[in-house]
């Protein structure tokens, strides 16, 4: 009796361990979505420990996106763009794509106007944040909540 009970327990343990590994492997392969915490970490990696204030930055995205594979996105920052006072960098982050970073742009007084446009991918309905680093070391941000009906990244390849 005893050996059979033991072996049953062992087998169950082994099965449990296997299921655990299987789940882990699946997690590792599947595009695990970024979390707001991962985004915060990415923000800190990009701009350091400087406090981030709301304002000066304007991020423009359509509030309702039909296709997340290509979403027009414009960021502009209120700055005179002179040698003494200009925008050094602008970063865009997202909460729920597999990676929190979207784009990081470096500018200088030669830009004349602190603005740029691009097209981005959005994997889910989420908040997109733009952060501008100024020449005086301050950081300003803006965010926008975007509803996505067809998500990017998960579609079937042709």
């Amino acid at each position: 009796m005893t050996p059979s009970r033991l072996s049953r327990r062992k087998m169950l343990q082994a099965a449990g361990a296997l299921a655990g590994t299987g789940g882990f492997l699946r997690l590792a392969i599947r595009p695990a979505a970024a979390t707001p915490e991962m985004m915060q970490e990415a923000v800190r990696n990009a701009v350091g420990e400087a406090p981030i204030k709301k304002g000066k930055v304007k991020i423009d995205l359509p509030p309702l996106v039909e296709n997340g594979n290509s979403v027009p996105c414009t960021v502009s920052v209120d700055s005179p763009m002179t040698r003494a006072d200009h925008v050094k960098a602008i970063h865009i982050f997202n909460e729920k794509n597999p990676q929190p970073n979207v784009i990081s742009v470096q500018l200088g007084p030669r830009a004349g106007r602190a603005a740029f446009s691009t097209r981005i991918r959005l994997a889910d309905t989420q908040t997109v944040t733009a952060i501008a680093e100024m020449s005086d070391g301050t950081c300003w941000s803006d965010d926008i909540y975007v509803i996505v009906t067809l998500a990017a990244c998960i579609e079937e390849p042709n």
């Binding site: 594979n69 290509s70 597999p98 784009i103 470096q106 740029f116 390849p157």
Partner: protein, 106 residues
């Protein structure tokens, strides 16, 4: 690497802020998609874009997989002098495509 389209105004007044539009054809494969065989499709993206104006860097962007296929980037610069704008895109394997545009400043 691929075909690139650039729009720079042919002429500008000195000190004028001009808009530059760039587009390069590239799949920007994220690396998160699963192919028909069930294996993930390897990542293939452009990671870096730089624009220089007569050798001086005016704009640089670091791209991530969240940039849509055929990266389209528009930005601004001040037309300081007649010269050449150089645009270069570098992919994750280190291959670089360079394209230039001339501007006349009056």
């Amino acid at each position: 690497m691929a075909r690139a389209l650039i729009h720079v105004p042919a002429t500008a007044k000195r000190g004028e802020i001009i808009e530059i539009k760039t587009l390069i054809s590239h799949v920007m494969e994220t690396g998160y998609r699963i192919g028909v065989t069930g294996a993930p499709i390897p990542r293939d993206i452009i990671t870096d874009f730089v624009c220089t104006y007569d050798g001086e860097k005016v704009f640089r962007a670091r791209l991530f997989p969240a940039i849509a296929a055929n990266p389209y980037i528009t930005f601004f610069t001040v037309a300081t002098a007649s010269g050449t704008l150089t645009f270069s895109w570098t992919d994750q394997h280190g291959a670089t495509q360079v394209q230039t545009a001339a501007i006349t400043v009056e």
